[in-house]
């Protein structure tokens, strides 16, 4: 079986090479048979990689511990779900998983566009298969998942594997990496279409229309992956927070930020034919950040920032990034004439300008995160000193940028396309602005004196009001003309232009997330060693340890504290945090007990046992408003899904007729 697996990925490597060459040669020499053969090779790669993946998954599920990968990442006692999840839990497996996703995407692209874009498709497939070649190189020659364990030339099969890391044995962990990978891999498709359109100088923006939904879905996956990662950190790691500016977290955030910038600025191209160069730059940046993210997660950059250049697989990634970026930059510079803007800015006070600033801020935040992630390395190069950056450093840098972004989220929609007179703008600003100022004053009077939270709450209200006003005005206009009630009119309004109003919902989600972030400024925490009967106070809560138990099962030892919780003297029930020490891996995990409420979470973590092993070290946190981060995430996902629904209003317009393929009228879904 392992030989078949190795053969499959080796054959896939050759077939991918063939696909690239056949597509390019077939396209340049105009040989339709060669192009078709190249397209079939894409399916061939998918079939082969699927066979290889099936063999690896089969080995994981059946516990074939001759495979080094299986022995490293699975064991007999592991539940079936996590045996499956072990596919993407280690380096070799996750690179194969990456490759499988990429080959699936490529096959889908080849199939759905088999009759369209005849000029461009061979190039699109050539670019996608080039990326495939890179990952297949890694799969075959650097991180082969089909290596067997051997002792002095003899294949050995250990009776059991060392198992999956216990912290990864959490349901969200089974879907979090695939979500992120779907995002990382997905951005390859719009990138390939952008480059294909650039190479063949396609007239119009067909690459944008073809990949619009694709980009949005990919962006959604990426965002969901980031949110799931945060939720997992909060619920499993037991340090009371959800975001620690860890390089892996940063890596997943980077393409999301630049992808967000792309989603906005691409509207400028669709509406006005402007910013074509910039959009090319943005989609390429996003794609290469995805590759960088993969290399950070799987290529050793994260292992130690200092091992970046030394790690073998890191070198491959660096080479691929360098060559890819150079080629893309050359291509864009070479075709600047093709990317010439079709129109000009009518006014500086316009939606267009607000998009420029939105792009600036999103990219500035992206750059700041990237800079922070790489800074220890850069600093070592420049001054020879190692440094460490803590979350404080990031927060100092990112909080002002984030607040400005929040502000723009509210301001942008107040501008009209092309031009807005100052007078009208002032009128649009007036009421949300005043309401926000009132809120800030009230909060100040209520005792919140920190500047950032005040600003943040003010902006949150501002953005929320502008979004609500936008819905209200639109809905009442429809209600006035059709006699619908306001609720139905709102649904009708959203349905008529899903892209715009779905987008506003996404903004609303962002507001809710920022409300959650702001709560962070008011976190409280306490640590105490406790034995049965002890109490600790945190904020208005009192925790009394009713019992401290310990026990054991085949998998792990556990300690469990049972706490009776009361707030201002009112009993609120019990919480049971637990500590587990896994026997096989000698690793421990926390089962955090959280009492989630909209206003604040009470978060109790069993830190461990005291030195004399008599008392439990209990960490308690009161985290205000955290729930809104998750609610905001859900709203964001919902808004994005609405954006994907086709708008109800179809635009009827006379399509230009070409003799022989005449269509009288074509219904075109309305786009914003």
């Amino acid at each position: 079986m392992e030989n078949l697996g190795s053969l499959a990925i080796l054959l896939a490597f050759c077939v991918a090479l063939y696909a690239t060459v056949a597509s390019v040669v077939g396209r340049v020499r105009r040989k339709p048979f060669l192009v078709e053969s190249g397209r079939r090779a894409v399916y061939g790669v998918w079939a082969l990689v699927t066979i290889a993946s099936a063999i690896l998954v089969h080995a994981l599920l059946t516990g074939d511990f001759r495979f080094a990968y299986v022995a490293e990442h699975s064991n007999n006692a592991l539940p079936l779900l996590y045996k499956w999840a072990a596919w993407w839990s280690g380096q070799e497996g996750s690179l194969l998983f990456w490759m499988w996703l990429l080959s699936s995407y490529t096959a889908v692209v080849a199939f759905t566009n088999r009759r369209r874009h005849r000029d461009m498709m061979p190039w699109v497939l050539a670019i996608l298969t080039t990326i495939e070649i890179f990952f297949l190189t890694l799969n075959n020659f650097v991180a082969n998942p089909f290596k067997l364990l051997a002792n002095e030339g003899l294949i050995v099969k250990p009776p059991d594997g060392s198992g999956l890391s216990p912290v990864l044995q959490y349901p969200a962990m089974a879907i979090h990496p695939p979500m992120l990978y779907l995002g990382y891999v997905g951005f390859a498709v719009p990138f390939a279409f952008a480059m294909g359109s650039l190479i063949t100088r396609q007239p119009g923006d067909s690459w944008i229309h073809t990949t619009r939904r694709w980009t949005l879905v990919t962006w959604l996956f990426q965002g969901t992956g980031v949110m799931l990662g945060a939720a997992w950190a909060y619920h499993v790691l037991g340090w009371g927070g959800y975001w620690g500016w860890d390089p892996v977290e940063n890596a997943s955030l980077l393409p999301w930020l630049s992808g967000t910038a792309f989603l906005h600025s691409v509207m400028m191209q669709e509406k006005k034919g402007m910013m074509k160069v910039w959009n090319m730059v943005l989609i390429s940046t996003t794609f290469f950040l995805c590759i960088l993210g993969t290399s950070m997660t799987r290529g050793g950059l994260v292992q130690s920032v200092h091992a970046f250049a030394q790690s073998e697989i890191g070198k491959y990634f660096v080479t691929f990034l360098a060559v890819g970026i150079a080629a893309t930059a050359y291509l864009i510079l070479d075709r600047l004439d093709y990317l010439k803007s079709e129109s000009q800015l009518e006014s500086v006070i316009s939606r267009e300008s607000s998009f420029l600033f939105n792009n600036l801020i999103l990219l500035a935040s992206c750059f700041a995160v990237l800079w922070g992630t790489l800074f220890p390395k850069i600093s070592e190069w420049i001054s020879g000193d190692q440094i460490s950056l803590d979350a404080d450093w990031y927060n100092r840098l990112m909080v002002p940028i984030g607040l400005f972004l929040l502000f723009l989220t509210g301001v942008g929609p107040l501008f009209a396309w092309r031009r807005t007179s100052l007078d009208r703008l002032r009128r649009n600003f007036q009421w949300p602005g005043i309401a926000s100022l009132v809120l800030v004053v009230v909060l100040f009077a209520a005792g919140i004196h920190k500047p950032y939270p005040l600003i943040s709450f003010g902006f949150c209200l501002f953005v929320a009001l502008t979004v609500i006003v936008e819905f209200y005005k639109g809905a009442s206009s429809i209600a006035g003309r059709t006699g619908m009630n306001l609720l139905r009119a709102t649904i009708e309004l959203t349905h008529r232009n899903t892209r715009r109003y779905g987008g506003y919902l996404v903004h609303m989600g962002v507001v809710l997330i920022f409300i959650g972030f702001t709560g962070h400024a008011f976190n409280q925490s306490e640590v105490k060693e406790m034995s049965q009967g002890d109490t600790m106070r945190i904020g208005r809560y009192e925790l009394r340890m009713a019992s401290l138990e310990q026990g054991e099962n085949p998998n792990y030892l556990w300690y469990r504290g049972t706490f009776q919780i009361s707030k201002d003297g009112q009993p609120l029930g019990t919480l049971q945090p637990e500590k587990r020490l896994f026997k096989a891996s000698k690793e421990s995990t926390s089962e955090v007990a959280i009492r989630m409420r909209p206003n604040e979470d009470l978060y109790v973590n069993f830190g461990g046992m005291s030195d004399d092993n008599q008392r439990a070290v209990i960490q308690a946190f009161v985290n205000p408003l955290v729930t809104w981060v998750w609610v905001g995430g859900l709203v964001l996902i919902g808004g994005t899904l609405i954006c994907l629904v086709p708008s109800k209003i179809k635009m009827q317009y006379a399509r230009t007729q070409v003799v022989g393929i005449a269509k009288q009228h074509v219904d075109l879904p309305a786009k914003q």
């Binding site: 080094a68 990968y69 490293e72 280690g90 290596k147 364990l149 060392s162 890391s165 912290v167 990864l168 340090w239 009371g240 927070g241 620690g244 500016w245 860890d246 390089p247 292992q303 130690s304 000009q344 800015l345 009518e346 500086v348 420029l356 600036l360 990219l363 750059f367 700041a368 800079w371 922070g372 600093s379 001054s383 000193d385 190692q386 440094i387 460490s388 950056l389 803590d390 979350a391 404080d392 450093w393 927060n395 840098l397 962070h520 976190n523 409280q524 925490s525 640590v527 105490k528 060693e529 891996s585 690793e587 830190g607 461990g608 005291s610 030195d611 070290v617 960490q619 009827q652 317009y653």
Partner: protein
């Protein structure tokens, strides 16, 4: 077969997740308190305090996380906990910060020293943002349309060459919504 590498990989994976580079003020406080709690059994002078934290921040934790001794989030960390106790002992004995750091460098090699992040670190992103602003300004300058000279009129298509499309446009506009 490089099982060693595999091993370290998975260990690393574990470490990077368990030992989250956490902190932020609140979290930091927790940690300080956590260690305070853990050190209860020991003498008061060994409790981590701002002095210990100041020195600990300049020393890399060798437990596998990428944090400093002061910010390592692991409660029973095999490296940062004794290191903190040692810093406290040396401070109690009157050693200066530099002497303590030198002592650690002597024992663990120069790799343990973490320099202060220079101003360079946080200025660069702001400089980049400023450059972006200049870029926007240039963009606006380049693509800003000169003020149209013509007077406003209702649907006046000025160019006579384009006039013939007026009818069609009007018809299509009527179809809108």
């Amino acid at each position: 077969m490089n099982t060693d590498k595999h091993r370290s990989d998975s260990r690393f994976l574990f470490c990077s997740i368990r030992v989250y580079p956490c902190s932020s003020v609140a979290k930091f406080l927790v940690l300080v308190l956590a260690f305070a709690g853990l050190a209860l059994a020991q003498t008061a002078s060994e409790k981590p305090n701002t002095d210990v934290r100041r020195v600990g921040q300049r020393l890399a934790c060798k437990c596998g996380c990428k944090d400093s001794v002061a910010t390592c989030a692991m409660l029973e960390c095999g490296f940062s906990k004794p290191a903190k106790e040692r810093i406290a002992r040396m401070q109690a004995a009157g050693f200066s910060d530099q002497q303590i750091i030198d002592a650690f460098v002597r024992d663990y090699g120069p790799g343990i020293y973490l320099a202060q992040p220079s101003a360079f670190g946080w200025t660069v992103p702001y400089v980049a943002a400023a450059l972006g602003l200049i870029g926007i300004w240039l963009f606006l300058k380049k693509y800003r349309k000169p003020k149209p000279l013509l007077e406003l009129g209702p649907v006046a298509i000025d160019d006579p060459a384009l006039d013939k499309y007026k009818d069609q446009i009007e018809k299509d506009l009527a179809n809108l919504e």
